[in-house]
Symmetry: C2
Subunit: 595 residues, 2 copies
């Protein structure tokens, strides 16, 4: 059975040594997150993740959720107590506004601990995760009344939240949605329709569930400009704000899925269910995007999280399992065989996973920090710059870290040989669970289109040009640094590929959008690779600067991974560039009926 | 629910137009395989695959196999009748020696139809598939008595076969195996020990099961040089050759697996079970390798097969599902949205899958043809050349086609968005089933080591040098061909990468074997890419030569895929070369305890 040790030291290294969180004490909430507090928070989160969530991961997968004939849904054994421990620890409220029950701590800190929770038990962590996303949308777009009524209970974990977008005939293309909202005399609405793939749509963890539902108000314009967002509670709050009358929303069935069996994925039926408008009429997608952007970063963290726990177990197996001899002569002559760890191909797999994970963690936390800055800085220009960067990083984190996270789980499973295919060893669950992260919250192809179609050209390419300039300046600043040279040479080459690809897309994507579409996924991965390499350069630099002899081995690991990444992963940017600049003709010319 | 239409036209194109099977009529059995016979055989196989096997694929996965308390195992509903149809059609006996009940047809023809069967129902096709492998080992190494006793019944499908290698503490490293064989007075042996991961180890499809079991005769040398191979039937044949007394071999439990649920993967217990030596004492691995080489090619075909059926269903979904609008303006303005097929990123996915599949099919059949030549040619030099090439191609087919086959299934699943994650749509089963092909019959890392450690240096590099020369000559011969130029330029560049990598490994792998180990997987994929590109060049050439107007669209698809492969997949060889020549230091320098 797998085990999991949250990478507290790695997260602290990123927060303290790479991102230098202490430089942001002027931002609201950051002063409360002094290094000792941050360390204590991470240690507490680690205990919850490894001691409470992880022990239920495999059993939750095997047991799954069950729906009774009355539409009620039961979660796997132990989930309720674990959820209560999670909520009771204040983990949902951590980064939110104290005016509504939050603790006001940095979002970057929440991101750091959320990785641990998603690694410990992805299916379970989705219940509070979706709640956080729903609260974010509520607090950004909700009326004061709605905020006061719902947010504190959700942050306490007494109520959970969901997001209801998908319908049977539309997922990506929300303009097609049919769920309708009819005005009621009291200013609320009556919603009718069916939603599918609703994670945490029904369960037995809490006394109430707050659905955020996209629907079309009668008479609204067609397409995405006629969609509004509604708050639809399972139980209507009574005068005291407690769960009262049951609303006409119910779980019609549970989906049978490849993984995340511990999370109830529901078909939700709305039959004149009472709901309240959240934000402006016909601006529902806008409001939902707050939730989706949060969610996309969280999903990127899930990719990282599954990859990290899979890595840890693959390392343990590679140390323990005796099989074959080292190619350079027996390393373990007194035993019948050497451990797998002596084999170069096994080490290659492990380093591929780890060098992506550690840079991915730095990238995710860097993005989360931009979210903090974009919301909490008092300087408009600073906020804008951070928002620009966050806009670029979000699709990359979601798309690249889930693509690579899944591949990493597959590779970690491979280390186990035949045992990797056997359920009891737990590795195949990581693969099945990680698979969904490439799909939900916008399939990765959609992330790529968001990047090249929206984020890249926005404001005349302001965001990407600022990023290219930042990395260029970094390279210039460290030009003479001999220790960093083995990293910065390859980074410089790959930055060149990124510049060429960006230019090519700007020149060719405008005139023929199919050129952008045909290169989108490759561009997302190209940008991701450069960003991960940039993170490695910064980490290697921080590792070099660290003079603590007690951390010498820790820093040795960082340096080795940085070099591995530069030499064995980063070269991929050349291929990505070649694919992008090959243009759309080679994908568009074949008539559809000849596929 | 998925459907499957065996690609008969594609297989015929490879056999007739690319490999030109009619040129081999001088080989035993080939004269019986005239073009019309081949076409009829493929059509019959297609009917079995799509009409009998495929309809049981999803239900077989959901139902799985069950073991009763008495150790008997029942296969999913319908499997027994389907197996009988399979056996009754003569599909097991197709390529085997008529002296033992075979039909003597070319193995390349068997390979072509085996793809269809593995695509229709991978779990089910493993029962006859393992039987074929066992017969191959029997006919190559068995005594006349053993051959006559077992082979005809197995080829008829009255008895099935298995291969018993793995034990709990050893899979790859068979030198560690503990199952022991004790001499009995009658010349037979008594076997005791436990084997795990035994596919088709116990079932209700046939009246008897013939286990080929690796074990160590008492007093034999340690390691791989003390391993012998035995025939251990479930029921001991009586004087008339019918199943008699039950042998002391039984299924202790069924493994719980990620996929191939319709195949019974057994823990097999041998408690003084009676067995007969197959081949020479202490040369068991040698005999088993006959079976394993057959099996490796078959597993490569499984990777292709799953990728093909996943592709077909992804294409169907991309045509049907209306979601979003074309980037270049609505293509379907009268409908609420355009089909997925208009989106460049969807087409990119589909063409990635297809362009690997079609070249993979050509490569697999080319390899199978080498097997025929190496066994059936009357000229020793011709046999040797074919055997050399087959030796190179086998690990590539197994490793590359299962790695890419799995990735292709994942990408095909991605086309379905959220529905791809839902069990009822069937796409996730392809992913789970395809996953095992990367692991069994030698994990893909072992294939890569077999390639760089054994096949590459054998006979002073004779095999790889012959292959490089062949492709080089091909390029030279077609140098002035304008139509092929867009393919041959990239192939030439990639061939250069392969030459450099081969040279680098020969120079650096001998002095420091870790250099070979650290580059093994990349070399396997580099060679695979060049081979697939070579196949595309030959297919494009054949397509160009085809003057049949009725096939113009068929050939248009080939040309489009060839170009896609050259422009979007083949560039990867540069990265593989860079990784290989980065050497072993970046994987070996980190101490094991710092992982």
């Amino acid at each position: 059975m797998p085990s999991y040790q949250p990478p507290v030291a790695d997260a602290l290294f990123v927060l303290n040594d790479v991102l230098k969180m202490d430089q942001y004490a002027h931002l609201a909430g950051f002063a409360d997150a002094s290094p000792d507090i941050v360390a204590a928070v991470l240690e507490e989160a680690a205990k919850l993740a490894s001691g409470v969530l992880q022990p239920l991961n495999h059993s939750g997968d095997q047991e799954g959720c069950r729906r009774a004939d009355d539409g009620s849904v039961s979660t796997p054994k132990g989930f309720k107590a674990a959820f209560e421990a999670y909520a009771g620890g204040g983990w949902i409220s951590l980064p939110f506004d104290p005016a509504y029950g939050g603790q006001g701590l940095p979002y970057v800190l929440a991101a750091a601990v959320n990785e641990f929770f998603a690694a410990g038990n992805m299916a379970l962590s989705m219940y509070p995760g979706l709640t956080s996303g729903a609260v974010a949308a509520l607090l950004t777009h909700g009326s004061e009344e709605l905020k006061q009524l719902y947010a504190p209970k959700m942050l306490e974990g007494r109520w959970t939240g969901t997001m209801n977008l998908t319908e049977p005939h539309c997922g990506t293309d929300l303009g097609l949605l049919k769920t309708r909202a009819t005005r009621r005399d009291d200013g609320s609405f009556a919603l009718s329709g069916q939603k599918i793939f609703i994670s945490a749509g029904e369960h037995d963890l809490t006394e109430n569930i707050v659905h955020l539902v996209l629907a079309r108000i009668e008479g609204a314009p067609k397409g995405v400009k006629g969609i509004s967002l509604f708050v639809v509670p399972k139980f209507l709050p009574d005068a005291a704000g407690n769960p009262g009358v049951r609303n006409a929303v119910s779980c019609g069935s549970l989906e049978h899925k490849m993984g995340i069996h511990g999370n109830a994925t529901c078909v939700m039926n709305y039959d004149d269910a009472q709901g309240w408008l959240l934000g402006e009429e016909n601006r529902g997608l806008n409001a939902m995007f707050v939730m989706m952007n949060e969610a996309r970063l969280a999903v990127g963290l899930q990719g990282l999280a599954q990859s990290e726990v899979a890595y840890q177990n693959a390392v343990a197996y590679a140390r323990d399992r005796l099989q074959g001899r080292s190619l350079s002569g027996a390393k373990n002559p007194e035993k019948p065989a050497d451990p797998l760890m002596v084999h170069p191909d096994i080490r290659r797999i492990l380093l591929e996973i780890r060098s992506v994970n550690e840079a991915g963690r730095a990238l995710a936390l860097w993005a989360a920090l931009q979210s903090d800055i974009s919301h909490r800085s008092t300087d408009a220009a600073t906020r804008e710059k951070a928002a620009d960067l966050l806009g670029l990083l979000t699709p990359v984190l979601k798309g690249v870290m889930t693509d690579r996270g899944f591949e990493n789980c597959v590779q970690a499973q491979q280390v186990f040989g035949g045992h990797g295919y056997i359920v009891e060893w737990g590795m195949e669950q990581f693969v099945r669970d990680a698979r969904i992260a490439m799909i939900y919250e916008g399939a990765n192809g959609i992330q790529a289109l968001d990047l090249v179609g929206r984020k890249l050209p926005a404001n005349g390419g302001r965001a990407i040009m600022a990023l290219l300039a930042e990395i260029g300046l970094y390279l210039k600043t460290h030009d003479g640094d001999e220790a960093l040279k083995p990293l910065l040479g390859p980074l410089n080459a790959s930055l060149g590929h990124l510049q060429q690809a960006s230019l090519w897309l700007m020149q060719n994507g405008m005139s023929s959008p199919d050129n952008a579409g045909a290169g989108a996924t490759d561009y997302m991965h190209l940008l991701g690779l450069v960003l991960l390499a940039y993170m490695w350069a910064k980490m290697a630099q921080a590792a070099k600067a660290d003079q603590d002899a007690g951390r010498a081995e820790f820093m040795q690991g960082k340096q080795a991974c940085a070099l591995f990444f530069a030499q064995r992963i980063l070269p991929e940017t050349a291929v990505r560039l070649a694919r992008i600049t090959s243009g759309a003709a080679n994908v568009m010319s074949l008539p559809a009926d000849l596929f």
